[in-house]
């Protein structure tokens, strides 16, 4: 039989009273705060889970912020680019009207409208959101484009892209990043894309020069100047270059390209006739030092007939040398009449390749480099073309406007492609935002489930502990009240 003393009963009462009171204190804290995890030791595994969920919540909130921020930027960008496309659509309409216009004054009016569109396009390209340029890529601290007047008359607008080729990227979670600031060079077209879209160089003129076999790298448009420098006559005809020949002869060509028929009708070289390339005969005598001889196609040379060989009657092969210049005459290169001669632009360092094997006349060639102009340059070129700044034939002018139309379509396609990409990104962002929202909700629910107090359960436990405490008090009071001393009288 276990011998229980009053002390033992008392110790038990104290022990269990302390235990239940302590448990009641925990229940009180959990119910009052609504949280059951106050210290890691409350439930280490649940605590770890709660900690992990809290971290995830923080991450998700940051991700939601960046996704929303990216959406704002994408929305803004898409809106700006749709405006840009609208500008291009208007430009295309004006180009069509230009092709069908009956008068230059009508085209001049259209040019003024296109100038307005160019200004709008420039403004769009320098768009800022919250003080940051949208289309400078990672280099978004200053205007991405700098526009300056063409380096030479007749050339296209000088556009310098000062942004970077890389888009800025924002972290949206799970090692995923989205573009936020976009490289404008890619959007509005430029040399980077030019290399992929360059088409065959177009030469417009009557000189007979053609594009060489090398790959040009000049951009936009240019004017090729072909100047006469020297005419030489072979054989023993005695004909020589006239005093005005240098720089004024209009023929250019390697030996045999042009010929001069010389017929001495006097028999002593004092008089006769000459004909250039089978053109109409021109009479001469031995006193003429600067006789102009024209061909059927309007070319002419100046000759000296003072020393014609007596009795000469034959075709004289002619060599007419000249120079090329692509930079307005700032630098010239002698024509070698090869089929792939490089001519450099001293202003940009770029070059073109020319085939001079069929070159026949001095003059100017208007060059277009399709697929190499950006949106601003195409609009600027359109203004110049509508104004008729180059002396083009009607056919060439129509063809040029038609090319501008193609260029506008190309730029428009390019912008719409970017709009499409950004819209797709926007769609992804929206889905991502929904997903993050769902994750947030689910994580919050999990966190609540892990760390929040289950009130019903806790109340039941508390009630149970309270009952036990009451029983402890009650049974202790009852037992201790039964004392022998009460019976000893």
């Amino acid at each position: 039989m276990f011998r229980a003393t009053a002390n033992h009963l008392n110790a038990q009462a104290l022990h269990f009273s302390a235990r239940f009171t302590s448990q009641l204190a925990v229940h009180q804290r959990n119910i009052s705060s609504g949280i059951r995890l106050h210290r890691p030791s409350d439930d280490p595994l649940a605590f770890r889970q709660a900690s992990s969920l809290s971290s995830r919540l923080q991450d998700l909130r940051a991700e939601r912020f960046t996704v929303q921020d990216a959406q704002t930027k994408l929305n803004f960008s898409v809106s700006q680019l749709l405006n840009a496309d609208q500008i291009l659509t208007q430009a295309k309409t004006l180009t069509q009207q230009g092709i069908q216009a009956f008068s230059q004054s009508e085209r001049n009016a259209l040019a003024i409208e296109v100038e307005g569109l160019l200004s709008q396009m420039k403004e769009l390209s320098q768009s800022k959101l919250a003080g940051t340029y949208m289309y400078g890529g990672t280099h978004s601290s200053e205007p991405p484009f700098r526009f300056s007047d063409p380096s030479l008359p007749g050339r296209t607008l000088d556009v310098e892209y000062r942004g970077s080729q890389q888009a800025s990227r924002a972290f949206v979670g799970q090692s995923v990043a989205v573009d936020t600031f976009f490289p404008g060079d890619e959007i509005f077209g430029g040399p980077v894309n030019g290399s992929k879209q360059r088409e065959a160089t177009v030469l417009m003129g009557q000189t007979g020069v053609r594009s060489g076999s090398g790959t040009d790298n000049m951009l936009g448009r240019a004017t090729l100047q072909i100047r006469h420098t020297e005419t030489n006559f072979t054989g023993g005809s005695g004909v020589a270059a006239g005093t005005s020949s240098v720089g004024n002869d209009t023929i250019i060509g390697s030996l045999g390209r042009h010929s001069l028929q010389v017929v001495d009708t006097s028999g002593d070289g004092s008089a006769g006739w000459v004909s250039l390339n089978g053109g109409p005969p021109t009479s001469f005598d031995n006193t003429m030092t600067n006789l102009q001889v024209k061909s059927n196609d309007g070319q002419f040379v100046f000759i000296d007939t003072t020393n014609i060989a007596p009795g000469f009657d034959d075709e004289v092969p002619v060599t007419a040398n000249g120079t090329y210049s692509i930079d307005g005459g700032q630098t010239t290169v002698p024509i070698d009449f090869s089929n792939n001669q490089a001519v450099f632009d001293s202003i940009t360092g770029r070059f073109i390749n020319l085939d001079g094997s069929n070159l026949r006349a001095a003059g100017e060639e208007y060059l277009d480099f399709p697929g190499t102009s950006n949106a601003f340059q195409v609009l600027h070129e359109l203004v110049l073309d509508l104004r008729g700044s180059r002396k083009l034939t009607n056919a060439d002018q129509a063809a040029t406007l038609d090319r501008r139309l193609g260029e506008l379509n190309r730029i428009s396609d390019q912008i719409l492609e970017v709009v499409g990409q950004q819209s797709a990104s926007l769609q992804t962002m929206r889905q991502l935002e929904f997903q993050i929202g769902d994750f947030l909700l689910s994580t919050e629910e999990q966190l609540v489930a892990v760390q929040a107090t289950d009130i019903a359960e806790t109340v039941l436990r508390m009630q149970n502990d309270q009952n036990l405490l009451q029983y402890t008090y009650s049974v202790t009071a009852n037992i201790l009240s039964t004392q022998l001393i009460n019976f000893l009288r």
């Binding site: 890691p40 280490p44 605590f47 909130r61 990227r169 360092g349």
Partner: protein
Amino acid sequence: MNFAIGISALRAAQFAINTGAQNVANANTPGFHRQRVEFASRAPQNFGGSFLGAGVDVKSVNRMRNQVLESSLTHTISDLSGIEQSLSILRQIESQFLPGEGSLDSSLGRFFSELARLSANPGESVARNAVIQQASTLAHQTNSIYQRLNGIESTVRAELEIQVNDLNREIADLVELQNQIKRVSVQGAVPNDLMDQRDRLVNQISEKIDVHRFEHLGDGFALSLGNSSVSIGVIPIAFEAYENNDGALGVRLKGTQREVPIQSGRLAGLMEAHNQTIGGFKNRLDSFAREFIQQVDQQHAQGVGIDGGFSLLRTTRNIDFTDLPLNRAGLDFPVASGELFISVTDPQGEKRTYSISVDPDVDSVQDISDRISGLPNLQGAVDPVNGQLSIIAQPGYRFDFTGNLETIPGLADFSGTSVPRLSGNYTGSSNRELQFTIVGSGEVGRSENLLLRVSDPVAGVVLSEINIGRGYEAGTSINIIEGVQLTLSAGQVNDSDHFSTPLVAQADNPRILSALGLNSFFAGSGAKDIRISDQIQNNSRSLATSRNGDLADTTNLLRMIDLQDARTLGENQRSFSDYLDDMTTDVGFQVRSQQVMRQTVSDLKLQYEAEINAVSGVDPNEELININLYQRQFEAAIRVLQTMDQMSAELMNIVR
């Protein structure tokens, strides 16, 4: 008639009643053992051949006790006391890792969240400052927790000394008590109350140190302490707390080098807390801080702020010896063998990337400085006073450790007029070198059969051959490999001309930048001194979010964000967050475990106390019953005496 019999009965009853009264009086005295009077019949006397009893004697007054149970209780008290001490300290440690908005884990998460937010608007000074502020909070919290753990450690050290002093006093009291018991015992008495006091004192001592008691028949008593390494005799012994060279606390016999191995009790709890628990958590926190500092700094160092590269950089971390190899130079972080890439940008914006080799077993900081001085337009200098290494660029030049592609490679073996340029960002995962060789001679973009051969000279592999003659538009980009692009300007190129360029995925394989503190985000090297570097604190533009200096370039920022999931910590390769969670969970588990143990041992103690109480405890009712019994005995003895007295009177009347 023998009055003596009655008187002996009277005296015995009185003695027993007094003993009962003493029991009742000490019913609630801690350590008191109830006492029982042992009666014995006096030796009979011979009355004419018949033996007649001579009354009763009080043979002894015994303490009611169970020696085995009490010994077990002493052990349990020692265990419980040690557990409660450990638990108390663990709960203080646990308090440093409480959950909520201000927790370390939460601050760590918020730091990475702010980095993610910054990636949306990298140029915003508010967002940049938010990152710095959050990092500062994290550093401050780490530092505060470390200091508070230091505080707990100091308190434990002081408490150990107090407890040792108390123990010494109690041992002295015990020895004195034991001597008293011996003196009384020699006189033939049984000093029950003194022995009660001794038992109580033994239990008090056991609260501090593990105690083993030996009791023999009679008054044989011995006590050994500290895993039976020290015995208490007639001369008091004393202990002292001490700290060894490793900073660990111990207890030894005072005035000697003899360490006492303490197994349980408060002293064991304090020593374990100091030498293992607190130290362990401090080490773990420090490991976290060190790894965090090094990882963030290492990545930060390989980027640039939004003002671009540097014209001057100084190391900010400790260098004890600038002329000894790096692994013996007293650096805060270890350095490995490898190559450090340094890019130098000229006033025109053209960039060249150079590398210097680093061998920590051989190279000193001075050697590194000399190698840097050997690079074009850079100068390295070591301050002989403070050991700081400075890197200075020539006026107009800037340098960085981004390892970005050089814009124009070295053209010593390239004789043509065409100029190659590199662009893009290398996206490969390992460092490599590319060699470009011209095949054929001619003009770029114009000649036929003109190729550029791209090869990997280390692997000896030709990667591609690209047309750069007719069909290639001079000056346009050619995609080479993994984000690397090359352009060749118009001009002549000659057969077999070549150039090479490094492709850098990791600009600092030796991790020397963080070890020296070049372009660091943090200052300090561990939990005790972590803080934001002055450069970052004073100028948020210096926060190296970029790798090219562009305002919205987030490439380095994204790499810093990736550190959140980097698994580099501890043996299990944990992420920073997981590591902190492990630490917090561990302290939670330890507290939990100690709580369970306390409950178990406490229940065991209660059980032992109940069983001891069953033997030694005073039950007032029982005592009252006994007193009642002895009262009857007393009354009966008086009646006997009265009867004898009447009988004597009757006899006297006859005589009269």
